[in-house]
Amino acid sequence: MADEFNSMEDLAFSRSFRNWVLNKDAAERGFWENWIARNPDKADLVKYAKAMIYALHTDTTVLSADEIDEEVRKALVRLKEAPRYIPLDGPRGRTGWWAGLARGRRFWFAAAATAALGFGGFFIYQAHSHRDVFRAFLSNYKKEAVRQEVTDAIDDHAFNLPDGSLVRLGKSGKLYFPAEWARSPARREVFLRGEAYFDIRKNLSAPFYVYTDQVIIKALGTSFIIRSIPSDSWTTITMVTGKVSVYRQEDFYAHSPVGHAPEGMILTPNQEGVYDQGEDRLHRTLVGTPEQLGVQQDTSLCFEARPVREVFGRLQEMYGIPIQYDEEAAGCPVTVTLGDESFYDKLNIICKAIRGSYEVIDGNIVVTMPGCK
């Protein structure tokens, strides 16, 4: 026991020692007086620890038990009157005034605005090249409550959505979603501003949509990172596992025939989709350092005079990245040993062995090789 107190802080941070120092009649008295008598060599430690305790003493407002009870009572009264959701306080900026209007008055406000602007207003709206996705998102939930999760500039925050999907919302982020999700919803929808990691719980009958100011992402059961910072003119989607479709607003909201999905771009693991607002185009590329899928196994792979096709097949399997090559040369034998190098280092080793080269095109690896010998 005595060995446990070998420094000033061991003593000062001990609740029992502290109790005794601050209250000589504490129940611990017997123990500490005894301990000190048995450890004369630690007299200095005890003195310093006491000084530390006195120095850390604060005499600020201490609430009485009655005052605390009163606060707890107040809190419980407020719970009973609590709404079932946190009212949307509307982000500052372009949608703030709109969201701030009471729901009932919003219609009249819009009607009056339309009347005042007449057809001119209509054309202004059309000329605005980008739809307000946020408003479109909110309008779907006019009757239901929309909740928002917000993070500040120094913190991120992980939480579960009503369907069990996990979200880690980055700094200064906002995520909006319906406060209550139907038991078997036709679709699950959220709106994101900022950066967030999503791990979507698989539900094939209810696709998960993430709306952002620039693009819409549709997922089934996957994990990915979206970066959609309001001040940026681009949005990126980085795949971790699974598959998503990314849509430009125009394609997403285009009137498509029933049963036809809008035209989008599919992303698979280790691919990254970038939407460029200036060009209004989606690009597909690879993440900077592709990661192996699943659990890292013993990655040492030896190929002795195996067809190139088999080597690439294995690599594609490990990273989920499509590798394209000329079928004519695919049967050529190659001898390589791959260890725990990065994806690109592995590619370089293989290309050196086959005297070929590769390029990243549209999120695929395209290999050029001269053929056998």
Binding site: K47, L56, H57, T58, D59, T60, I68, A75, R78
Partner: protein, 198 residues
Amino acid sequence: MSAVNLLGEDLFLWNEYRTGNADAFGALIRVHYSDLFHYGTRFTRDAELVKDCLQDLFLELWINRETISETSFVKYYLLKALRRKLTRKIGRSRYTGSWEELHFESLFSGSYPVENNAIREEGLPELTKKMRHAVSGLSKRQQEVVYLRYYVDADIEEIAEIMSVNRQSVYNLLHESLKKLKKLSGKASRFFLFLPLI
């Protein structure tokens, strides 16, 4: 400040609260109120503001009870949530509108109990004065780490969680702080230098 080991009871109350038991929630906030309030008043002298923040925090916790995760560290979860809330309320710079690091303000500013009978021990009042001086020389973050370690009994990992920094920084902050407090006099530092050999 608070009873020592409430982990089991805490967990029970927390889980009850998550299923919508208002009484359990009341009991939970009753248990932690004084620690939360004390911590909150380290950041501002405005006690009413801290009370308001706590009321808002409780309401939010209640409304979000179904989406709040299971945690085995209820108290630290609450402290972190309060810190987050205070940052939003008072951490915003009036001039730039941007968020600032929350300042641990009025720490240990009370008058020290030198006149107290308990402190009549020889040399102790002087040492306490020096110690107090050393404490006020610590950075705000160092003070906050010491506070959480001392008043809330939080360990390195829990402090890291509350302050949203990594464990290594907490360890460094605490280590540096204690080093400074031990360097009060030549005698003390010599004494502590030999400590590891004992």
